[in-house]
Assembly symmetry: C2
Homo-oligomer: 221 residues x 2
């Protein structure tokens, strides 16, 4: 697969089929992950794959609670705004995202593969997120959808560590859980605010010097 | 370029030529960045490209101080270990990294393009680092090397914000500066601890179920 197709069409794919991910694809995902850079090349990471139904069943209620917490805390303003003005484009986007997250909560044990990513000595996230994004891009190249979430680590770190057997005396931080599965939906280029509206040149507020009105890669081209 | 070639050969490339990066390549780098996912698709990011010599000249002494701080603080243990046992493989790796960072400090104003990435409402880094890694991968596909660093934001946030004109009342966090330029060196697959040595299945410490003794992609294949 071309690098641009991967970069432009890999989006959060939460609704997935229960079909298992073959071992050689899992190996490709993990091998791509460890090729990513980390600060000072410390590689302070561990990846824990979960495909056992029993372990997923233990995690499911925690994840479902974490979703409920998410709507009431971090996303409270957006949830209220979406309820107050349901026809606004931003409200529709919020509802779509909530439905997709809720779908994952309702079908948690059917997701074929979960990757828990732990980092050490990394406060910025810069030494774990490139590896996770590489894992998602390698998955995409194999037709596998993925979606990262931080909510288990935010709302239920202790219970999650206990279920997964993570040692608590080694400074591991649960950066994210990434779900993997063959997609129910279709791949596509996600809509974004154009680059020239979120970029400046040499000084905050100064124009970047070009306008990008359409994505520079598209499936038709 | 194939996705695997990009994922496997994009490594920190600090020694670069002073040749400018064409505008269309800069546009491709930024457009790839904004296609990346962010938590709840908030896109709470700004990208500030610096190619003006005068701005680089103002930032250079800060960057050089930040390097000196880095060796004395975050990397102090590694620097001492490298000095104490200079022939150990880990000491050689540390010295290589230090030389490369120091090269960038000494040639700061000659680096053709710097990207400062700012994030809002993102404590985990998960809403900015995928965009930065996408920018680096898109650069790689265009033959442009890159290297992220967080040290200006760690050691000199106030002075950096002032030079770049970043508003201080909007909660922007300088996630990283990424340097870009055509490489002096060659691309290659970086050495890493193999995936099966940093991965577990279903429970911390349990074997992942496969061994990956050679990178699953190589330039020869």
């Amino acid at each position: 697969m071309d690098i641009y197709e991967a970069l432009y069409t890999t989006r959060a794919m939460r609704r997935v089929l229960p079909d298992p991910i073959p071992m050689d694809v899992q190996a490709q995902i993990l091998d791509a992950a460890v090729r990513a850079p980390s600060g000072g090349n410390t590689q302070g990471w561990r990846f824990l794959l979960v495909d056992d139904h029993e372990v997923k069943a233990q995690l499911a209620p925690l994840y479902q609670q974490a979703i409920a917490n998410l709507w009431q805390t971090i996303y409270a303003d957006r949830v209220q705004a979406a309820a107050a003005e349901p026809d606004k484009p931003s409200s529709i986007t919020t509802r779509k995202m909530m439905n997709s997250v809720q779908w994952m909560g309702d079908h948690f044990t059917e997701i074929p593969l979960l990757m828990f990513a732990f980092s050490a000595f990394d406060t910025s996230g810069g030494s774990i997120w490139p590896a996770l994004w590489s894992a998602q891009l390698a998955a995409r190249a194999n037709g596998v959808g993925s979606a990262p979430t931080s909510i288990l680590g935010i709302f239920h770190p202790e219970e999650t560590f206990k279920i997964l057997g993570v040692p608590t005396d080694q400074n591991w931080n649960l950066a994210a859980m990434v779900s993997f599965g063959y997609p129910k939906g279709v791949w596509g280029v996600a809509e974004r605010r154009p680059a020239h509206k979120v970029s400046y040149r040499n000084h905050w507020g100064e124009p970047i010097g070009f306008e990008i009105d359409q994505p520079l890669w598209s499936p038709e081209a």
